[in-house]
């Protein structure tokens, strides 16, 4: 188990534990983290699980792949540290990960 901190757009922290191997989106949905809609259920087909990866964690999380970049076109207020949480796999190295959820998903 690792710990992940979802911070909402207003600054509210939501620390939850996550199983290695799950996606960040699944962790959010399982813990009912507000601000993650995940309409399509993890198919990388809707861009409603958009998060901003904390700059300190960007390198460890890595960049979005091509299909994810295409899907990010449908998200709003996309920034250089934008990712879709359904495409981030939890690993031991991500213990302590901090992400921010956008004001709106759609």
């Amino acid at each position: 188990m690792v710990e992940v901190n979802f911070i909402d757009h207003a600054g509210e922290q939501n620390k939850v534990s996550a199983k290695v191997g799950m996606t960040l989106m699944e962790v959010a949905v399982q813990n009912r983290v507000p601000g993650i809609d995940a309409e399509c259920g993890g198919a990388c087909a809707c861009a409603t699980c958009h998060v901003y990866v904390d700059p300190q964690w960007q390198e460890k999380v890595g960049p979005a792949e091509r299909m994810e970049e295409d899907m990010l076109d449908f998200a709003f207020d996309v920034r250089p540290n934008s990712r879709l949480s359904c495409q981030i796999k939890i690993t031991e190295a991500l213990d302590g990960l901090v992400v921010t959820t956008p004001e709106r998903q759609s």
Binding site: E39, C40, C46, A47, D70, D73, F74, V78, R79, S106
Partner: protein
């Protein structure tokens, strides 16, 4: 679009042409119930076709692996003998009941001004209506349908205007290329220098930009400026997070589709958290004669699986038969052995 003013009368009207709506045609068809289907998408298949046509599904019984589009194609083949009529690209806006007993009918109207009179209605609307995603720009509502549009209904309406199109997919590029000859100016804005649109559209767009016939800028819209719904300019954020202003009097944001419950909430049905409660014997709603099947319904133990929707369609069809043929006794038959059913399927020896 011009519609025949005639009223379309049908046994069953199915709202939603996703996998569950399609399979309902089959189950109703075996019971001699004719169906019309309406879907807001311009294509058949619902989420399977719109969200994940190429993604494999692993939990359809009898198919270890099948893609969303393959499933839709197979269902279409399966329901072919029943000749369903599809009305695509239309949203049901009104649904109301009239009459009692055998004279009971459901009056249905779409946003394309098409009218139906049905003996029963099956709502197979999945996650609701696919509607354009609206960018979260402050006050955008007050500009909508005046100077901000999420679709082009009439190309001519853009003649002589300074049009800003936002997006990087086919809709954005197709309309940028299409409106360029008649608009005063066309600017295409996208968040990166890579486009999902068809390669030939991208090439054409780059050609027009190189000729100076179209502008291409990178960034995102953050604010609108104007008055009385009339846009004058937009505030934008560039990739380096710097801000700039872009004059334009028409804005077309193309950010794909999202699912919303839509007008279903206004049809007088009991709802629970944007879902339609049904019984688990007939999958009927709080209004007799209106059924809800697939992801749109809810009941104790509900699983949002395609296979659950198939089961629900079969049971709803049994009850629908009682409404449409009240005098007929329904004999339960198997497609493997019933000559009667095989005749309907066009496979009788």
């Amino acid at each position: 679009m011009q519609n025949e003013q005639t009223l379309i009368e049908t046994d069953a009207l199915i709202i939603g042409a996703g996998p569950v709506g399609l399979f309902a045609v089959f189950e109703l068809g075996l019971l001699d119930i004719k169906a019309h289907l309406i879907d807001i998408l311009p294509k058949i298949g619902g989420q399977c076709a719109e969200l994940y046509p190429e993604k494999p599904i692993y939990d359809i019984p009898g198919f270890p692996i099948i893609s969303g589009q393959e499933l839709v194609d197979n269902l279409l083949k399966q329901i072919e003998p029943f000749h369903p009529t599809f009305h695509l690209g239309e949203m049901v806006t009104q649904l109301s009941a009239e009459g009692e007993g055998e004279a009971r009918r459901f009056r249905v109207k779409t946003d394309n001004d098409r009218h139906f009179l049905a003996k029963c209605v099956l709502i197979a609307a999945g996650g609701g209506s696919f509607l354009p995603k609206k960018p979260p720009i402050p006050n955008i509502d007050s500009y909508e349908d005046k100077s901000v549009f999420y679709a082009v209904r009439q190309r001519e309406a853009f003649r002589g205007h300074d049009v800003l199109i936002v997006g990087g997919g086919d809709s954005a590029l197709d309309w940028a290329i299409n409106l360029q000859p008649i608009a005063q100016s066309v600017t295409l804005m996208h968040r990166r220098d890579e486009f999902r649109a068809a390669p030939h559209s991208v090439a054409k767009m780059r050609e027009l930009v190189a000729e100076g016939a179209m502008k291409l800028v990178f960034g995102q819209v953050t604010g609108l400026e104007g008055s009385d719904g009339q846009l004058q300019s937009v505030q934008c954020k560039a990739l380096d997070q710097s801000t700039f202003t872009l004059p334009c009097d028409r804005l077309l944001p193309f950010f794909g589709l999202t699912m919303k419950l839509g007008p279903i909430a206004e049809w007088g049905l009991n709802l629970h958290e944007n879902l339609i409660p049904v019984d688990t014997e007939k999958f009927e709603t709080s209004v007799p004669g209106i059924f809800a099947i697939g992801d749109i319904n809810t009941y104790p133990g509900k699983l949002k699986l395609i296979l659950s929707g198939f089961h629900e369609a079969a049971l709803a069809a049994q009850k629908a038969h009682r409404y449409i043929y009240p005098e007929k006794r329904l004999l339960f038959q198997y497609t493997t052995s019933s000559t009667n059913l095989q005749k309907k399927l066009g496979v009788a020896g």
